[in-house]
């Protein structure tokens, strides 16, 4: 399978405030959220970034989505570099994270049309896509309800639909099932499987082992900003279950630290 997304040495440091330095009992002025992260995602597979909270998963995905800039390293997303062609990257990916919100005042229907225009969809394509996605995610029922009056599940469905409005080849989802009830979570995981079946590539981040085991073809384990392992799920779990592999790696990584 051909490589459609290739990240090479993605590094991102954030400055620590004086308060934060005190809190973490450190003299370091910066914290490295992503430390030379490299991985590849192949066409038609689901790639999972697994790691505890604060490991740097979201930072990596945000760099891929060009929301933040990498200090060093680059990633080629479907032929576009995140450094030199951020608009190109953004037009090729569907990005979903909890920090992206929809304007409360508008209805899912209006927002769909608005983002369709931003993606330069023709009215015919837009209407076809809308029918398809609204039917699949059951949005028709609340298509004219303002987002402010929508439930969390409704909002998540609308966000999801809008993130893939342009039928992208690569879908990048940050913690896609966080905070969702089992029904909505299943809608999301089913959607990801379906994308894979359609030959699309999915990159997701999560701290839930079962989700990786259920969905991913390949996975990378990130601890403290470093990619510890990156391999096919079959290889990673050849000897022991994913959970055990992870805790062993975690203990090893933390054991190496002075504190």
């Amino acid at each position: 399978m051909s490589v459609i997304l290739k990240a090479e040495g993605l590094t991102k440091t954030f400055r620590l405030s004086a308060k934060q330095q005190k809190l973490q009992n450190t003299k370091k002025k910066t914290i490295t959220a992503a430390d030379h992260i490299s991985f590849e995602a192949h066409e038609g597979e689901i790639f999972g970034l697994l790691g505890p909270n604060g490991a740097g998963k979201t930072t990596v995905l945000r760099m891929l989505a060009t929301l933040i800039k990498a200090d060093s390293g680059d990633a080629i997303v479907d032929g576009s570099s995140i450094k030199t062609d951020p608009e190109g990257v953004r037009s090729k990916i569907g990005f979903l994270t909890s920090e992206l919100k929809l304007e409360d005042f508008f209805t899912p229907n209006y927002l769909f049309d608005f983002f369709a225009k931003i993606h330069h969809l023709t009215p015919e394509v837009r209407d076809k896509r809308k029918k398809e996605l609204f039917d699949k995610f059951g949005i028709n029922k609340f298509a004219e309800v303002k987002v402010v009056n929508c439930s969390t599940g409704m909002k998540q469905r609308t966000s999801l639909v809008i993130s893939v409005i342009h039928d992208p080849n690569i879908v990048i989802f940050d913690e896609p099932t966080n905070g969702l009830d089992v029904i909505t979570a299943k809608v999301v995981t089913d959607f990801l499987m379906e994308q894979k079946a359609l030959g699309k590539t999915v990159v997701l981040s999560t701290h839930i082992f079962s989700l990786v085991e259920k969905l991913c073809d390949r996975a990378g384990i990130i601890i403290d900003g470093k990619m510890i392992v990156c391999d096919s799920l079959a290889n990673i779990t050849a000897e022991k279950p994913l959970e055990d592999v992870f805790f062993d790696l975690y203990a090893e990584a933390k054991g190496g630290e002075e504190q």
Partner: protein, 391 residues
Amino acid sequence: MKNIITIISKEFTRFFTDKRMILMTVLPAIMIYAVYTFMGTLMGDMFSPDEDHASQIFAVNTPASIVQSAPMFGLTIQSAGANEIDIIKENIINNEADLLIIFPQNFDELVGEFDSRTGPAPNVEMYFKSTEPNSQEAYFMMTALLDAYKSSLVTLFDINRGVENPDLATPENVAAMLISMLMPMLLMIVLFSGVMGLALESITGEKERGTIATLLVSPLKRRELAIGKILSLAVLSFLSGIVTAAATILALPNLMGGAAEDSINVDIYSATDYILLALIILTTLLLMVAMVSIVSAYAKTVKEAGQATTPLMILVMLVGVSGMFGGGAQTEMIYFFIPLYGSVQSMSGIFSLDYSVVNVLIACISTLVYASIGGFVLTKMFNSEKVMFSR
């Protein structure tokens, strides 16, 4: 360009389909009209004397010369005896009389014989009640009469004797002067409040709620987002400015108790004046929007943005006030390059019908350049993760 229009149309939909937002825009205008009218009525009642009122003026030892000239000042003086002084004073306190004048006996003769070397001048006592407009008015008129009498005694020369209307200013000049003093400040404040009301919500609000991040992951260019925001905010604040300014202009005659009704006449301006005025207002608005947008993009919360824009508001007010002083608009070209100040000077010049088209155009163009720099900075800010995702 297409994306910019998409952004503008979203901002317009956001504004025009939200009843609350429209209400919040129209409400200040209604308040201004109501408050000005109320204040005008109140002040009118308080300070203007009753025109139909016949003044009750009493004088003791009334000299013939004064009685004769009283009708020229619209006064009628009733004679009273020295024994009535206390009663009349009591009546003034009870608003039943307006003024009591006590002349010395044989006032005319005393005045005629008076020599500053031999003793003090004859003294006239006048009693009135300052809180009663009619009494106050009678006092002023009587003082004017006595002053006229006094100066007639020692005339060395007259001023404007027999000249009917020495003020050669046309009614247009008077109107233009009044408008040119008030309007630039009013416009600046009204426009800036409109910008503040909208930009904080549209930029910091979207940032705070995380909705701008959704736009930032779309293929939209940051520049398109910045331009779309600035243009739509400028148009919307222009509309809100028009509503507020219209309410203010309509309320001004009420505030001035009808005095301004005849003098403020907007027919005096030509089409060129209006076109230049519209140009300077629109470019100034763009600059204001750019300024407030930058502060809004930098702020983390709408509340913080509100606090941070207050100094800007004060600056705009101060610059606006500068149009009221200094004896008309500046004429030197260099002043028109100064942001905001150049705008105020241009407005002041246009309103007073005394301006150079070149200077006004310089102000328009330089303001546009400053606004573009602001747009460029805003684009950079939208591009900066530190600004957009700081918590």
